[in-house]
């Protein structure tokens, strides 16, 4: 049994992995080398989990897809830097076994697996997932020579805004020298990754565009109508909004395929994210928003297809 017979390379997925490298380097600088050990543990457990569950389905011809590696890498970036290893392990098991394997494996899952796992541990362990945030290193050598972070409980920009009304300067949000989940900090690096993904035609520009537009539109609406105190640009740059827009919403498996459906899907995600942030108890809503979008994707796609078929039939008469 040769190892390479059990691995399926996927070119698109390689590109996603490449696009994540800068984010990882930056987050090591912010939070220390623990980020990398966390990634290693998550990937090891994730690959074993995928191997086990796919063996149930495919038998001896089992193949672990490169998509599983992407799931592991993205999932790790959504975690708080101080997350205990065992919680990270529970999440990745849920992601790949219940979020993906149970649906039949690669290309059959309805929901983005990384977010399923993230959501499961977020609801199960609210204290560990939200209470303690890490202070970031902001000078050289930063976290490159250290294992973890020294100081805790610096609130994230979104928590500061919601509880104390303090707005973090946009420059910090843009560059990313702020606390939060491992990969969500730097808007600039996420945008660079987005540019790379768009240039290599790996991710859908329609989805990215419409999620952002919808997010901007609804956060402006809520802001100017007085429901929310977060200015629109702040809303887009803070929290995981950009990260999820670029890497999660565009997941080709759980998103619709034609342009019109993608636009509708993007609008739903942008709206849900801002709506949850503004009106619910949760500080961040983008994770739920993408999952909500995922659950609507098949319906949107079918409705659009049926409408088109009807119009085509009408035109033929």
């Amino acid at each position: 049994m040769e190892l390479k017979n059990h691995f399926m390379r996927q070119k698109m997925m390689t590109k996603v992995l490449i696009s994540l490298i800068p984010l990882y380097i930056f987050s090591v600088w912010l939070y220390g080398l623990r980020v990398l050990t966390l990634l290693a543990v998550v990937t090891l457990v994730g690959v074993l989990a995928e191997f086990w569950v796919m063996r149930l389905i495919q038998g001896d011809k089992v193949k672990v897809t490169e998509a599983a590696l992407v799931t592991c890498a993205l999932y790790t970036l959504t975690l708080p830097p101080t997350v205990p290893y065992w919680i990270a392990i529970v999440g990745i098991l849920v992601a790949l076994i219940l979020g993906k394997g149970a649906f039949g494996g690669f290309a059959r899952n309805i929901f983005n697996p990384a977010l399923v796992g993230r959501c499961f541990i977020y609801i199960s362990f609210p204290v560990q997932m939200t209470a303690a945030w890490a202070k970031t290193y902001t000078s050289l050598p930063g976290g490159f020579l250290r294992y973890g972070v020294d100081a805790l409980s610096e609130a994230t920009p979104m928590i500061l805004q919601e509880t104390q009304g303090v707005l973090t300067p946009l420059k910090d949000l843009f560059l990313g020298t702020v606390g939060g989940s491992i990969g969500e900090s730097s808007a600039l690096l996420i945008l660079i990754a987005a540019a790379y993904l768009l240039y290599t035609k790996t991710a859908s520009k329609t989805i990215m565009l419409w999620v952002t537009l919808s997010g901007l539109a609804f956060s402006s609406a809520f802001y100017y109508l007085g429901y929310s105190t977060a200015p629109p640009i702040f809303s887009i740059l803070s929290g995981g909004f950009l990260f999820a827009t670029v890497f999660m919403a565009t997941d080709p498996i759980s998103a619709p395929r034609d342009t019109l459906s993608q636009a509708l899907y993007g609008i739903i995600i942008g709206f849900s994210a801002i709506f949850i942030r503004t009106f619910s108890l949760f500080t961040e809503g983008i994770m739920f928003a993408v999952l909500i979008g995922n659950s609507f994707a098949p319906l949107i796609e079918r409705t659009v297809r049926e409408m088109r078929a009807k119009r085509a039939a009408g035109g033929a008469k």
């Binding site: 499961f120 609801i123 199960s124 560990q128």
Partner: protein
């Protein structure tokens, strides 16, 4: 008498109401965060299913066909109210915890299902056994689900602390967790069933 044994066994295993027929899911989601609640609920359902099946089978010959289901519901409601009164009288704290779910035993599809599918076509004794073991099958699954949920959600079994120093899983306390636990149980049992079937075919 062999036949009764078969009825009893298939109701708990091969035709388990929750795992194989996917009936009675609503209450299995709602009350399974604590084992004590599950036990009381399971016993209540077992009691109602057994006696309503027995009663319906007993008077089946007399029931006019056009009001058959009406009478069945009536009989089931009768036993459910008895259970409800009994719990309020003798187990007030559990009755409070189960809240509306005792009254809702009446809507449990298992009971009506057994009445229609079995009791209405069979003599009283087999109907009693069938109803009783359908309830036992339900009870066992509830206990299995709540075993997982109570350990992970509270670190206890039947309210007794296991002395574990660990982080409780908040999700396990909430009803959605039962979806995960039930579906994993169904996954495992279906896999067994398929294997057993293949073996049977080969033999």
């Amino acid at each position: 008498m062999v036949e009764l044994k078969v009825i009893a066994k298939t109701n708990v295993t091969k035709e388990n109401q929750i795992l194989r027929q996917i009936l009675g899911i609503c209450s299995a989601l709602a009350v399974t965060n604590l084992m004590t609640n599950s036990l009381v609920m399971g016993v209540g359902v077992t009691f109602v299913t057994a006696l309503s099946s027995f009663t319906i089978s007993l008077i089946n010959q007399l029931i006019p066909q056009r009001i058959r289901m009406l009478i069945q519901t009536f009989v089931i409601a009768f036993y459910v109210i008895l259970v409800h009164l009994f719990l309020q009288t003798f187990l007030p704290s559990i009755s409070k915890q189960l809240g509306p779910y005792v009254g809702l035993i009446i809507t449990n599809c298992i009971i009506m299902g057994r009445a229609e599918a079995f009791a209405a076509k069979n003599p009283p004794l087999p109907a009693l056994v069938d109803g009783f073991f359908a309830g036992v099958g339900y009870l066992l699954v509830l206990l299995a689900i709540s075993f997982v949920r109570e350990i992970l959600g509270f670190g206890t079994i039947f309210g007794f602390s296991l002395g574990l120093n660990f982080t409780p899983w908040t999700l396990m306390v909430m009803p959605p967790a039962a979806f995960f636990v039930i579906s994993i149980l169904i996954w495992i049992t279906s896999a067994w069933a398929i294997k057993a079937e293949e073996k049977g075919r080969r033999a």
